[in-house]
Amino acid sequence: MSRQIIDCRRLLCPMPVIKVQNAIEGLPGGSQVEAVCTDPGALKDIPAWSRINGHRVVEAATRDGEYIVVVEVVEDSAS
């Protein structure tokens, strides 16, 4: 399964959300996008964006002071 890593370090919300959204646009269902963030708000905002746009969060964690959110694209929701 393809997983794209996007560097959202130093970006403040909603920029990490925008980066995830733009990365997902055009990706086939099942692909994953991993956002590496330093704004803790990303742990809430990326899952919220994913919920309302019908994608699936497979991981949201804090690692070495960074916040990692992995979103899986759900085909029918891509827009």
């Binding site: 403040l12 919300c13 909603p14 925008i18 704004d39 708000g41 919220a48 309302i52 746009n53 019908g54």
Partner: protein, 347 residues
Amino acid sequence: MSEQRKAAALISGGLDSLLAARVMQQQGIHVEGINFYTGFCVEGHTHAIRRRDQKKDKRNNALWVAEQLGIKLHIIDIVEDYKQVLINPRYGYGANLNPCLDCKIFMVHKAYEWIQARGFDFIVTGEVIGQRPMSQRKETMPIVSDESGAHDLLLRPLCAKNLPLTRPEREGWVDREGLYDFSGRSRKPQMALAARFGIEDYAQPAGGCCFLTDEQYAVKLQDLWRARGNKEYEIDDIMLLKVGRHLRPASHYKVIIAREEGEANFMQGYRRLYPSMTTVSHGGPFALIDGDVDDPEIELIARVVARYSQGRSAEQVELSFSDKSGRSRSLKVKPMAAHEIPKEWLI
């Protein structure tokens, strides 16, 4: 069965756009939200930066509103394009540096491009006649519709009954009878409608949706423009205007001093973009220097930063200065006394 029409609603995160979108849903319209990010949006930034705010539950209001409505939300980065709006607003600024009317025209124009690209039928905003002195007046409503290019594809459900018919109404996509005639500054009609929809929890933006309406922020931005001799800015500039204490000892440089740990952490991320300074012998703030400085100026900055450290009354404070490449050197200085820092330096 008639085709389901699709509307893009401008979602700011406030109550008005929430209600406007809700009214459309009630009429069977498929609604998706658009939220624009200019770089000046208040949304969560200070919470993310300032440690003392971090305990408060931070939420992105636009996302939250979309979730309440059960609609998709598309957040659009307009940081680059927005510069032209802010630098050169045709209709000027509001009370501070907020170019609200130009901003509205621009956002509706962007939304118009968006609906054309996606096959949506019309645009919805939460505007109310007379709600805001600059951008939401009877005279400005047609200006926004026409100059954005959206013309009669722009529908304001909360005050549509006070405005000429739009295409969605003419074509019967929406029922004008189910729209509203709100006007004036009062928030009561909106609150009553919210109650009718069972919406209890919503954001109450004080001045507006962005930092440009904030007086302190506008003063700092104006200072930046004056010092540079033009109104250009980069996203890093406008982010840093939100943090720290800003002092400008001379026109060609300023010092940004963190006020607490959260700000210091955030500012550390800029160490490779700006020269920086921090205290070594005493607990003290982290500082960034915006501008090119020579040795005597570095010493002066060290004395200022020492003034804001725990060594402010010591004979000598040791600091470390680092340039953008990360090379650092140590300095030992006598902290400035409070009265030695001219008031004019503080931005």
